[in-house]
């Protein structure tokens, strides 16, 4: 049976959501690549939340992951509700492109570019500006070089991961 259809009851869905949130938190602790361009794996959790739970519960799951992560590991840089919003909008954008749709390259490219522009460059820079009073342009300068490289790597990872999870079958 397909992984998406195997969850029969509401309770199973909620517990699976909790497990994916836990996965997102753990993946957020890992990264790969050279020290100059470290790619964190937390985005895979956002993609899985979006792919399996859609825009509503995927968004809620994203918010929960930020809250639980700050409870467990303590947010580096301090807790700020803006970053919780960031954690919610990421899965929302991915869900609009990936939930209940076949895995297509253009969907992955479009969603990743939108997440990069709206969430990583736009919202996160705005939160840094609001939270620490940083000059918006200075914060952008600090962020832009990384954001020019990482999305392309993320697209490859998302494609590989979604191709794999969409084929997962479990015998029960």
């Amino acid at each position: 049976m397909n992984a998406k259809k195997i969850l029969r009851t509401d309770l199973q869905q909620m517990i699976f959501l909790g497990m994916i949130v836990a996965m997102k938190i753990i993946l957020g602790q890992f990264s790969f690549g050279p020290t100059t361009v470290k790619v964190g794996l937390g985005f895979i959790g956002s993609v899985l939340l979006a792919y399996f739970f859609g825009p509503v519960w995927g968004t809620i799951g994203g918010g929960i992951s930020d809250l639980v992560s700050s409870a467990i590991f303590g947010n580096q840089g301090g807790f700020f509700i803006g970053f919780t919003l960031t954690a919610m909008v990421g899965p929302l954008i991915y869900a609009l492109f990936l939930y209940d749709h076949p895995v297509k390259v253009w969907r992955i490219v479009a969603s990743t570019i939108l997440v990069t522009i709206i969430v990583n460059i736009g919202m996160n820079t705005l939160w840094l500006h609001l939270m620490y009073g940083m000059n918006f342009n200075a914060a952008l300068v600090q962020r832009l070089p990384k954001e020019m490289i990482i999305p392309w790597v993320q697209m490859v990872v998302i494609y590989v991961v979604l191709q794999a999870v969409s084929r997962v079958k479990i015998k029960k």
Partner: protein, 265 residues
């Protein structure tokens, strides 16, 4: 259960430890918001003093808090330097191309450094004195008003508890899978970015299947024990307000009062 240390909680018995986690979470959030009231050297000095008093009240060693700031010290310096070179206004001391050092830039860089550090320090006070499960309970309490607008707070609370419970288990599982794949010859630290990106799937898929199977088993176990949502359920950990929460509230009100008096209007 996992042997890894989850959370930064350090056991203790000081005034801050005796506070209700809901009070601590609320005061932490309010303190972070209050930092925005500071806008001159006097108000920054007042809020720094209050932050250090909160640190002293935890009864923990300064090293604990230094460890909270240490991983971010480079980022804080870099951010402050960017402010220093990009901010314009006031007396200009040095200028080259788009960079300049002005009196406004210097003051702003110092403010950002202080603000950044204070937010990290006060968050550390919260996380080192409160157990993750207590923080989760406090978050659930904070979310309760959303019930009025039909937000499924009970379901959200269930998801929070499941996530908190399974982070250590899945963390162990991830390390086990990584070691298993390494013993089969997988190399996660070699090759270009794309090769390393592709190496993630052999870790993620077993982890994903394990999570899915656990979700199915756990829900079957819960349903067979008569789980019917949060309706009528009692709490194992009961939260109680204490006089220490009142003391911290008075402390916070005093801080806000002083900031309102001394800030530049």
């Amino acid at each position: 259960m996992s042997k890894i240390i989850i959370g930064r909680y350090i056991p203790g018995d000081s005034l801050v430890y005796k506070m209700d986690p809901r009070g601590k979470l609320l005061i932490t959030i309010l303190f972070i918001l209050t930092i925005f009231l500071a806008n001159n050297p006097i108000t920054y000095a007042i809020i720094t003093l209050f932050c250090f008093l909160a640190i002293i009240a935890t009864g923990l060693k300064a090293r604990v808090f230094w460890n909270g700031v240490k991983p971010l010290i480079g980022l804080i310096f870099f951010t402050s330097l960017l402010q220093l070179f990009f901010m314009t206004g006031g007396k200009v001391f040095w200028h080259w191309w788009i960079f300049s050092i002005s009196s406004y830039g210097i003051v702003n860089a110092i403010y950002i450094f202080v603000r950044f550090t204070l937010i990290i320090l006060i968050s550390t006070v919260m996380t080192v004195t409160t157990m993750p499960l207590e923080i989760a309970d406090a978050m659930e309490w904070l979310l309760k008003p959303l019930k009025v607008v039909k937000v499924p707070v009970d379901k959200i609370a269930l998801v929070i508890s499941i996530a908190l419970r399974f982070v250590p288990t899945l963390f162990d599982e991830t390390l086990k899978i990584m070691n298993a794949q390494r013993s089969r010859g997988a190399d996660f630290n070699d090759g270009g970015l794309i090769k390393r990106a592709k190496a993630i799937a052999p870790i993620l898929i077993p982890l994903f299947i394990h999570s899915l199977e656990t979700a199915i088993d756990l829900s079957t176990a819960m349903e067979s024990r008569g789980y019917r949502g949060s309706e009528g359920r009692t709490k194992y950990r009961v939260l109680n307000w204490s006089k220490y929460d009142l003391i911290s509230l008075a402390y916070f009100v005093l801080l806000v009062g002083l900031l309102l008096i001394f800030r530049t209007h």
